[in-house]
């Protein structure tokens, strides 16, 4: 049975027919090399395609990532304001939920927006932004609410990417 999760993962950074062909090649060699080899190379090919997407147009990726920072600024400060301006008890569940709604929702919408701004490089920009953000958040000792922001950013971008491919957007399907 065809496992489409690999095709979906690879199609985040390349066209869906290329993703299908690469997944098929790896599946064909799986019997010879084993499952561990297969999944290791699924990860390595995904990283290679991401790196290729960034190195092909680094300035575009940088600009899209900067646009992502600007878009996320409003919900980020909105979340902080909601906690500090309203009289929630410190560390209360209501305050945490409000913060999570602003930050996670903002990250989700930022991911979707970046794919709309740049269907070709948006996913690479989101992945780069997510990795840098996660490193900074870990470095700053952020709690779980903060640490999950990059995951929501990627989820939004991944959702928009899938929707674009499903909708047959020409620019996405025929991108390099």
């Amino acid at each position: 049975m065809r496992d489409i999760s690999v095709d979906r993962l690879l199609s985040l950074f390349t066209s869906s027919d290329r993703a299908e062909a690469i997944a098929g090649d790896l599946a064909e060699e799986r019997e010879q090399h084993g499952g561990r080899w297969f999944w290791l190379h699924v990860a390595r090919v995904t990283l290679a395609l991401w790196r290729n997407a960034v190195s092909d147009a680094p300035l575009v990726v940088l600009l899209v990532a900067m646009a992502g920072c600007a878009l996320f600024a409003a919900p980020a400060f909105g979340g902080i304001a909601s906690v500090y301006l309203f009289p929630f008890p410190s560390g209360s569940p209501v305050g945490r939920v409000a913060l999570a709604l602003f930050w996670w929702g903002g990250a989700l919408l930022t991911g979707v927006s970046l794919l709309s701004i740049s269907p070709q490089r948006g996913m690479a920009a989101c992945a780069t932004l997510a990795v840098v953000a996660e490193a900074l958040l870990i470095g700053c000792g952020a709690d779980l609410t903060g640490l999950l922001i990059p995951a929501w950013l990627l989820a939004g971008a991944g959702f928009a990417r899938r929707r674009a491919i499903g909708g047959g957007i020409h620019a996405v399907e025929h991108e390099r």
Partner: protein, 111 residues
């Protein structure tokens, strides 16, 4: 007139492997051909990004085949070298020939 495309060593190897494989050139067979003829175990990621680069330069073209059960119901992406690809490869080989002229590296005179 379009500027001549310069090929890296890896790109030359891939183009040569595709030419050797004729109508059966796709990811798995290209990697196998490179391993057999050059002794290099090419990482799939490096090869697929090189293939994308070659296609974007117009040096190869590709087409999807029918899905096969061996591949989990997925199609192959068969690639062929274009006229521009052959031309770029010929130029690269001619440059090697000119540089090798007078040297005998294989027999070790200048090794």
């Amino acid at each position: 007139m379009a500027a001549a495309v310069n090929l890296g060593e890896f790109e030359q190897l891939i183009l040569l492997a595709i030419l050797r494989l004729r109508d059966d050139a796709y990811g798995v067979t290209i990697r196998a051909e490179l391993a057999e003829r050059t002794g290099r175990q090419v990482a799939p990621g490096a090869m697929y990004t090189a293939l994308e680069r070659l296609e974007s330069k117009g040096l190869i073209t590709s087409r999807m085949t029918d899905p096969t059960p061996l591949r989990g119901g997925r199609a192959k992406r068969q690639v062929t070298v274009t006229a521009a690809g052959r031309e770029a490869l010929t130029r690269a080989v001619q440059a090697y020939d000119r540089l090798l002229d007078g040297l005998d590296l294989v027999r070790g005179k200048h090794a």
